[in-house]
């Protein structure tokens, strides 16, 4: 009796479970598979052509790439799959061969990696500038500073909070090199907050704690409607931020799509590409500039 009862209950529930699993499978499978195999290897004829671009949050979050890439895809049929990381992580993903082309901003590190053979065909593409933002009442009084090291010294001297990305991004590397230049030790200081987050997150954090931070102008312009931070220091030539574009070296990573990567690079450094970069504006502010004249 008991076993019989158990059985009928079981089979009823079994049907239910199986029908659920079956429905779930039907939901998941048909489209699931099609998008799953396309990631690997070289594109074959008839397949979608694409490259992986590893770049920094500043170019992607600011919307620049959403503005430029569709034009490139339209022209060449090559889709650009953007992975936005900090510069450190982007360089590492390229060095490991997980991307085909890089658009990053740490000129010194880029040139070193080209020297070591990981990357090839590097071009200075564009630049933007860094600014220091902080609360409008400017507790450290850096509006009056006449150099970036001067502004840093005033912040450190005032005891106001300074928020650092702390994520080994290009912006973070720039910020650290400026502290070194100003000869100020930040390690272990209670006014120095190293938060290990992206630029947008760091700006929001800075906004909340009424601190100062170094930011690229693009991310600030793109997100400032939600912030009470103001631009308090700008214009020192040391604050220019150069973006380089380069391909992953196919002689180290034979699987990379070097030809497509070169099409992308050549497009960006062409007149069309440069005009697009110059034409991009947020809230009426131009974010990236191309008239490069380094050294």
């Amino acid at each position: 009796m008991v076993t019989y009862k158990m059985k009928s209950r079981n089979s009823k529930c079994q049907v239910k479970i199986f029908s659920f699993l079956f429905t779930a499978l039907m939901l998941v499978m048909p489209t699931g598979c099609s998008s799953i195999d396309e990631g690997s290897g070289q594109a074959q004829p008839g397949q979608e052509k694409y490259i992986h671009l590893a770049t920094t949050t500043s170019t992607y979050d600011s919307g620049l790439l959403d503005f430029i890439n569709p034009v490139f895809t339209e022209e060449t049929g090559i889709a650009v799959r953007v992975i936005s990381l900090g510069t450190g992580a982007a360089l590492e993903s390229g060095r490991r061969g997980d991307a085909d082309v890089l658009l990053v901003h740490d000129r010194k590190a880029e040139l070193e990696l080209v020297e070591e053979g990981y990357f090839t065909d590097r071009y200075d593409l564009m630049y933007n500038d860094f600014i220091i933002v902080g609360p409008a009442y400017d507790p450290a009084g850096i509006r009056a500073a006449n150099s970036i090291t001067g502004a840093y010294t005033m912040i450190a001297g005032s005891g106001s909070k300074f928020v650092s990305r702390g994520d080994d991004s290009g912006t973070h590397r720039m910020e650290k090199s400026l502290w070194t230049e100003a000869e100020i030790e930040t390690k272990g200081r209670d006014w120095y907050y190293s938060i290990g987050q992206g630029m947008g997150d760091t700006l929001r954090f800075t906004n909340e704690v009424l601190g100062y931070t170094l930011t690229d102008r693009g991310t600030y312009e793109a997100t400032k409607t939600n912030l009470e931070l103001k631009v308090l220091y700008e214009g020192d030539p040391a604050l220019y931020n150069y973006y380089g574009i380069m391909a992953v070296n196919p002689s180290i990573h034979p699987h990379v799509k070097y030809n497509y990567a070169m099409e992308y690079i050549n497009f960006l450094i062409s007149d069309t590409g440069r005009e697009l970069i110059e034409a991009y504006k947020i809230n009426g502010t131009k974010l990236f500039f191309i008239d490069i004249n380094i050294d």
Binding site: D37, I83, S84, G97, D98, A222, T223
Partner: protein, 232 residues
């Protein structure tokens, strides 16, 4: 406060407009987490049932290991899978990094210990009688395991619900191994991170609400299934 209200309104606008990009993100999330939970169930339930129906003394170490793995931070699982699948990693030749497949592998890694662990606990709580009854009726090892699974289905459904809740809401692993590529590997949670970073709080909250609403429907469905098993 106004941003919260705006976020709720944005969520409704998004739902009503059935934006193509949004639909793609939502379906990709469901596909990835759905497939992951199915694979995780197929791996975790037999493992949990097997361990649960053995004597507690012999499986002490395995139990502790599974309980520990249940708490794996998603970002750690993601990093591990990244290093395995990266072009310079041991499985780099497969070219799986930054694909939905890589995201499924990461989520299976997260879901399987949860399903196995909770199944084990469920089976252990009432498994003994079932095992003894089945054995006394002359069942072999695999039949015993199957009987135990059937008898513990309520606990197992609970395990699946918990596992699904964890992976559909998880962002650390899919961000690292998927790369949050628009139209390719962008799911709801990574889209929320991106929009927050971009300062589009309304859109981020809207996406979050959609995630919760979907979660509600899926869990209601599973809950009804579970209740159905009990009420008969």
């Amino acid at each position: 406060m106004s941003q919260l209200v705006e976020g709720v309104l944005e969520a409704f606008r998004l739902i009503i407009s059935l934006d193509k990009d949004l639909l793609h993100i939502v379906f990709l999330s469901l596909r990835i987490s759905g497939l992951s939970i199915i694979i995780g169930t197929l791996l975790g339930v037999p493992l949990g049932a097997l361990l649960g129906s053995k004597s507690e003394k012999n499986t002490r170490l395995a139990s502790k290991l599974i309980f520990t793995l249940m708490g794996t931070p998603p970002v750690v699982a993601g990093l591990l899978i990244y290093l395995l699948l990266s072009r310079m990693g041991p499985f780099g030749i497969l070219g799986l990094i930054y694909t939905p497949t890589a995201m499924i592998i990461a989520q299976v890694t997260l879901a399987t210990p949860i399903i196995a662990g909770l199944t084990m606990v469920g089976v252990r709580s009432r498994g003994k009688e079932v095992v003894e009854t089945a054995r006394s009726l002359g069942a072999g090892a695999s039949l015993i395991t199957w009987t135990v699974i059937k008898e513990s289905r309520i606990a197992i459904l609970g395990a699946i619900i918990t596992g699904f809740g964890r992976i559909i809401a998880e962002v650390g692993a899919v961000m690292i191994v998927g790369g949050n590529i628009a139209g390719q590997t962008r799911v709801m949670t990574t889209a929320i991170v991106l929009e927050t970073r971009r300062g589009n709080f309304e859109l981020a909250i809207g996406l979050g609400l959609i995630l919760l609403i979907l979660s509600f429907f899926i869990n209601s469905f599973l809950y009804n299934l579970q209740k159905g098993g009990r009420s008969n």
